[in-house]
């Protein structure tokens, strides 16, 4: 019977093409707008490291200004980043199963081969300790990262992003080849597969929606070469800083720090370690604020950093209200359409269709409208996202269509179509057929 209802539904939709187009257009428009905001919201609010959420923690220590907290509106919030010295202490702890301290830098990246046609360009680099790749489940296309010895020796080794490898080496296996960062040569140890976590959870303080860095080099190279930070650096204490060494010893925060703690016991032990470390530092005159160390899971870290701004939620709400308005229009159009079908429905009733069958048949019809509206909405949403990408290049990561959201939109459209059709369908089921059979 479903097939028969489907066929009758399609015929009915073809009977009034203008009304049908208006209904599909109304639902499509609502779904298109919803899909766009839902897509952005979903990508922004996602947790790219959900699978490891229970073991990976961001580290915070509060050595900020005693007179004014890091965030005036959230007095208990510690700075998002650590000083160089405190990060070093985290890295030297042997409690974590894995540990990462890291920061941003910028270099001119080019091929070391003078015959190469690849033009040098300014590339953002991540200077990181080697656990970065394993802790954050970064996929490799070729090779691997460096080891602890490479880190210790500040070796000139590098991991390229897929995009950088494409630009310099045309996308081939470049492991063992050499690139130049500024005027220094680096041996390529690995090339990443496509990797674009949104939001960029591991460094939310430096552009939560930015793309990942183009290259990755040992953290210790930064100290060796005195590479200045290309990310946010925040200082509170009046200090005289005349050299890179003095900067490293300052109270400025600019290093991101993460640890992997696989058991609750290790979490407790590491918290104790941090508390002990801060207590020691207090004796040295540092950390003037009350003890305020914090370990945050990735999901907590995303909330703490308020990645999903209130505006996003408000926009999402408004877009669903717009969908509701579109649905109300669809209800009106369906009422008009179904009122024109009363004679045919009465005939079906006379020929043996029960109210239940008529109800089902019209639910199939409104479902068809919903699905067609959903497909149109996905198309419109895709175009809207394309338009957003054209307008705001920096939002590329959140303006790609997430197909799981697209499927969700189709489901919403189907439900929306059914919801819009419930009242008109119920009404047409209640029609007494007799008066409409006398004249056609």
């Amino acid at each position: 019977m479903f097939g028969y209802h489907l066929r009758l539904g399609l015929k009915s939709l073809r009977r009034n093409p203008v009304l049908t187009a208006l209904m599909i257009g109304a639902i499509g428009l609502g779904i298109g707008v919803c899909l766009t905001t839902l897509n952005v919201y979903s990508l922004v609010s996602g947790n790219p490291l959900a699978a490891r959420d229970d073991v990976v923690y961001a580290v915070q220590m509060d050595g900020w200004d005693p007179n004014e907290g890091w965030d005036k509106d959230r007095p208990t919030l510690a700075p998002y980043e650590l000083t160089f010295r405190d990060a070093q202490a985290v890295f030297e702890s042997d409690i974590p199963d894995r540990k990462v301290i890291m920061r941003k830098g910028a270099f001119v990246l080019g091929s070391a081969d003078e015959k190469s046609e690849a033009k040098p360009y300014i590339a953002v680099a991540r200077l990181t300790t080697p656990d970065f790749f394993s802790m954050f489940a970064v996929p490799f296309k070729y090779g691997a990262g460096w080891d602890a010895e490479g880190e210790r020796n500040a070796e000139p080794v590098i991991v390229l992003s897929e995009e950088a490898n494409q630009k310099i080496f045309g996308g081939g296996n470049s492991v063992g080849k050499t690139v130049k960062l500024d005027d220094k040569e680096y041996k390529v140890l690995g090339v990443l597969a496509y990797w674009n976590p949104v939001p960029k959870f591991y460094d939310l303080n430096n552009g939560s929606l930015d793309d990942p860095e183009a290259v990755f080099i040992p953290y210790s190279r930064g100290e060796l070469l005195e590479v200045v930070s290309a990310g946010n650096t925040n200082c509170w204490k009046p200090e005289t800083i005349d050299s890179f060494r003095e900067f490293l010893n300052s109270e400025c925060v600019w290093i991101q720090s993460w640890v992997e703690l696989r058991t609750p016991a290790k979490v407790e032990a590491f918290k104790s370690f941090l508390d002990g470390y801060v207590a020691e530092q207090k004796k040295l005159g540092r950390f003037p604020r009350p003890l305020n160390n914090k370990l945050s899971k990735v999901s907590e870290w995303l909330q703490l950093n308020q990645v999903v701004e209130k505006d996003n939620s408000v926009l999402l709400g408004i877009s669903f209200m717009f969908l509701a308005v579109c649905l109300l229009n669809t209800v009106g159009l369906l009422l008009a359409k179904f009122s024109g079908k009363v004679a045919v429905v009465s005939l079906h009733r006379a020929l043996g269709a029960s109210r239940k069958l008529i109800f089902r048949q019209h639910l199939v019809e409104v479902s068809l409208i919903g699905v067609a509206g959903g497909l149109l909405g996905i198309g419109l949403g895709y175009l809207l996202l394309l338009a957003l990408r054209q307008l705001y290049n920096s939002y590329e990561a959140v303006t790609r269509l997430d197909w799981s959201v697209g499927l969700m939109a189709l489901g919403i459209a189907l439900i929306a179509g059914i919801l819009a059709g419930l009242y008109p369908t119920w009404r047409i089921c209640r029609v007494e057929p007799a008066p409409y059979l006398k004249t056609q």
Binding site: Y4, L351, G352, A353, S354, K356, L437
Partner: protein, 240 residues
Amino acid sequence: MLEMQHVSKVYRTELIETHALRDFSLKVDEGEFVAVTGPSGSGKTTFLNIAGLLEAFDTGTFRLDGESVNELNDDARSRIRNQKIGFIFQSFNLIPDLDLFDNVDVPLRYRGLNAAERRRRITQALELVGLASRMKHVPAQLSGGQQQRVAIARALAGEPRFLLADEPTGNLDSLMARQVLDLLEEINRGGTTVVMVTHDAELARRAHRNVHVMDGKVTDFQPYAGRPIGAGAAGRAALA
């Protein structure tokens, strides 16, 4: 076959009450061809709608094929309409965007018959009315008489025991009206009980008996006038 006892039906609006049927009693036996006549507004169509389970009534009793229909729910009434009753309307009531095959198919779909059985019945019914060669045409491509024959084929395809015709020739010229009536007589001879509402006294005379309705009541009753009552169930089987 059909037995109404003291049936009444009142249409109510906020302002007025209209008594469409008052103490209406009628019995139609199996195989009969009954013509129901009367002026406009006399209650003929209301009777036909109640007989066809398209409308409820207020008081009285109504038994169809031995079964009381007073308390039946919508599913049961729809099933009886589908399985036992065939309808022929003055305005044909074909679905304009379905071809003849699909129009005749509608009641069979609700019967839940398989595709082969439906095809057999549709072909046979359209052959009976002489339109098998046009089963892929849509109603707009047919004359009024042909459309009414399709409507008759649709009614017959379900092999009903009871055919209700409401002014079946009202929209046809006299030649086509005669052809349609010939067809109804043939169907009746096959054993199907036919109740026809008509204004046309000449057509009514061709029925076994006439029932005259006035102000919602049966006021005159002309018994069997000579034409033999059809061959009953055996005749209907022969048609199938």
